[in-house]
């Protein structure tokens, strides 16, 4: 394997993602785990950049690193008695680790088996955001999920306010 700047960048981003994820599951302080999650999500954004999907990278930063991470930290902050919790309350982690390992091996095998040593099938078109925008509102593409998503967001808003304001 030849080392190019892109492979270096890939390994840095992969290290962010994996390291951050490990931090999330091993850290006993929830707040610190949430901060590690931000790191992992940021690494994923970097991976999207390397995959030439700048829009997804922007979404990742805007929604996940921006909004969801903020939401998670705030949720931890408004929850009573959870900030200082540092001992693990769950003894099932060996089981969880086993299941996760099985899944990781299966998925890794399936992906490597098929994609190892292969090049991308098609180049990414330059105007993919325009094409995405057209597809979202086109009746023969993603119009139905697009409109259902708006109803879904409305329902989520009602739900959030009902839950929080009782």
């Amino acid at each position: 394997m030849t080392i190019t700047p892109i492979t270096i960048a890939f390994f840095i981003m992969a290290a962010f993602t994996l390291g951050g994820s490990l931090g999330v599951v091993t850290n006993r302080n929830l707040f610190h785990a949430a901060l590690y999650l931000v790191l992992a999500l940021f690494g994923v954004a970097g991976l999207f950049v390397l995959l030439e999907a700048p829009f997804l990278a922007a979404v990742q930063v805007l929604v996940y690193v921006g909004a969801i991470a903020v939401l998670i930290t705030i949720t931890i902050m408004v929850t009573r008695r959870i900030m200082g919790v540092t001992e693990s309350v769950n003894r099932q982690w060996p089981l969880a680790a086993g299941v996760s390992a099985i899944m990781a091996i299966t998925l890794g095998f399936v992906v490597l088996d098929r994609f190892a040593g292969k090049l991308p099938v098609a180049a990414v078109p330059g105007d993919n955001i325009v094409r995405l925008g057209e597809a979202l509102v086109n009746y023969d593409a993603y119009l139905v999920p697009f409109e259902v998503a708006s109803v879904l967001l409305l329902a989520a808003m009602i739900g959030a306010i009902v839950v929080a304001r009782e």
């Binding site: 399936v110 098929r114 999920p145 009602i158 739900g159 009902v162």
Partner: protein, 494 residues
């Protein structure tokens, strides 16, 4: 500027969904404007919207009988007998859901207009779920089905059990959704499309990445297995069913389950016919485990809601058996007919049983033990009779829809045995567990008639109506199942 071809959009095909969606949005604003003491107006208006959708559905049945199934939005959704039949079930369940809440919510001091709006939203999710012909639509519909239900199960927020139910349901449901999304992503990676028909084509062509697609399908099964409460993804069910307000439990025990099965069947039968023997075996094993666990654990339950929760797990097992029988294309039509017939029979019976549970429940949320049914045979003879009918139907005793449903399910499975001998073993498990289920269903009847007790129950008009309608429906399905089953059989997917 070109106008789209209206035929390919086919708004008429999704008219019932549009009616409820538009009505829910209007109702939300309306609810903001009326004073807090008038929240029952919202309930009645929600009923009006649902009846409007029912009328639209009625016309669609006629339309469908003449023209057959049709695609809308260029194949993103399919309106066929299957989806229309299930949409009827969903709209009926939603109407019952509103009627059950009409007295329950004010009695328990949790009346808010949002209940009805969220109920309409989740109904839309279920209806779209039954029509979805694309995995992306399956996903957004599943979320639209689930998110309002998470909120509704926590609607009695001052009760800790209700809060616990909402949290558990939400966490496990979100976890299941992530499996579903992962499955969709892998399926897309393997086949290059999210359209169910496109996946079916890709599975038979060489361009396929079969291992990736198979793993994707497995993850899809996990995600949907959570929704229908199949073993080993059933853990949330007892706590959520027990903790949620009873009308919500009644609604979701039918609606969410039928929605999950709708997506399960359509995805498996439409998208993965080429690997049918693989998923058939998998589903058959899950069906066996689900029937065993649901029925055996239900025996030791003393709370009626918890007992009905395990019973709903058990019934998911019977339905899964018919789903497994759909693996052979020759008898897929019969098997799918058996599934939707069973779902209808289960819906009527279960809604009826929960109606009785609501009548017996006291205003502070207690009175949900089976012992609280003692004496009802004397004080409320008609209600006790109806409850006895529902219990017999859930067991699968004669002159009830439950028996006919079970017969169809077992028959479908036996027809498929030549392709998959494992099914024979699962059918035997099914018959044996049905016998076991008599223990806990008949216990309720025994307590009602044989044990002395206060037998207190509150039975307002709305509950009486629901009770009469569901009992009548259960009887009709049990005595003259022919016409409905013929309709169910025509529910074959396009």
């Amino acid at each position: 500027m070109q106008l789209p071809i209206l035929e390919s959009i086919n708004l008429m095909a999704v008219l019932p969904v549009l009616i409820i969606a538009g009505w829910a949005c209007v109702l939300l604003v309306f609810d903001l404007l009326i004073p807090r003491s008038r929240k029952h107006w919202t309930a009645w208006l929600a009923l009006v919207g649902l009846l409007g959708a029912a009328v639209a559905l009625f016309f669609q049945i006629g339309h469908f009988a003449r023209l057959g199934s049709e695609a809308a939005f260029d194949g993103m959704v399919t309106v066929d007998g299957f989806s229309i039949f299930l949409q009827v079930v969903f709209v009926l369940t939603a109407i019952v859901g509103v009627l059950l809440a009409l007295d329950y919510l004010p009695r328990h001091g949790i009346e808010r207009g949002e209940y009805y709006v969220l109920l309409l939203f989740t109904t839309i999710g279920m209806m779209i779920m039954s029509m979805a012909a694309d995995l992306i639509v399956v996903f957004v519909a599943l979320e639209l089905l689930s998110i309002p239900l998470y909120i509704l199960s926590g609607f009695a927020g001052m009760r800790e059990t209700s809060e616990e139910a909402a949290l558990k349901y939400f966490l496990l449901g979100a976890f299941a959704s992530s499996f579903l999304v992962y499955g969709i992503a892998l399926t897309y990676g393997g086949t290059g499309t999210t359209r169910l028909t496109g996946i079916a084509q890709a599975v038979t062509s060489d361009a396929l990445n079969l291992p990736l697609t198979t793993v994707g399908m497995g993850l899809l099964l996990v995600g949907l297995g959570f929704k229908v409460a199949a073993v080993p993804f059933h853990m949330w069910t007892p706590d959520v069913y027990q903790g949620a307000p009873t009308p919500v439990t009644a609604f979701m025990s039918v609606g969410a389950k039928a929605g999950g099965f709708a997506a399960l069947i359509r995805v498996l039968v439409t998208a993965f016919p080429a690997i049918a023997s693989e998923w058939g075996t998998l589903i058959a094993v899950i069906a066996g485990l689900t029937m065993l666990l649901g029925n055996i654990v239900a025996i030791s339950q003393s709370n009626i809601k918890r007992m009905l929760a395990y019973s709903s797990i058990a019934h998911a097992g019977y339905i899964l058996l018919a789903v497994a029988a759909a693996q052979r294309s020759e008898n897929a039509s019969f098997a799918i007919g058996a599934v939707v017939f069973y779902l209808l029979a289960y819906a009527l019976t279960n809604l009826g049983a929960f109606t009785v549970a609501i009548a017996v429940e006291r205003d502070d949320g207690t009175g949900t033990e089976i012992d609280d049914f003692a004496g009802l045979g004397k004080t409320r003879p008609w209600m006790a009779l109806a409850m006895a009918l529902f219990m017999l139907s859930l067991t699968g005793m004669p002159i009830s829809g439950g028996l006919v449903g079970k017969v169809f399910v077992f028959q479908a499975a036996l027809q498929a045995v030549p392709g998959d001998p494992l099914l024979l073993a699962v059918v035997i498990i099914g018959v044996l567990t049905s016998v076991v289920s008599a223990f806990y269903y008949l216990k309720v009847i025994m307590v009602m008639y044989m044990r002395e007790g206060e037998g207190k129950a509150v039975l307002p008009l709305a509950l009486k109506t629901v009770l009469a309608a569901t009992a009548f429906g259960t009887l009709v399905l049990g005595i003259i199942p022919g016409p409905v089953f013929q309709m169910a059989q025509r529910a074959m997917l396009k």
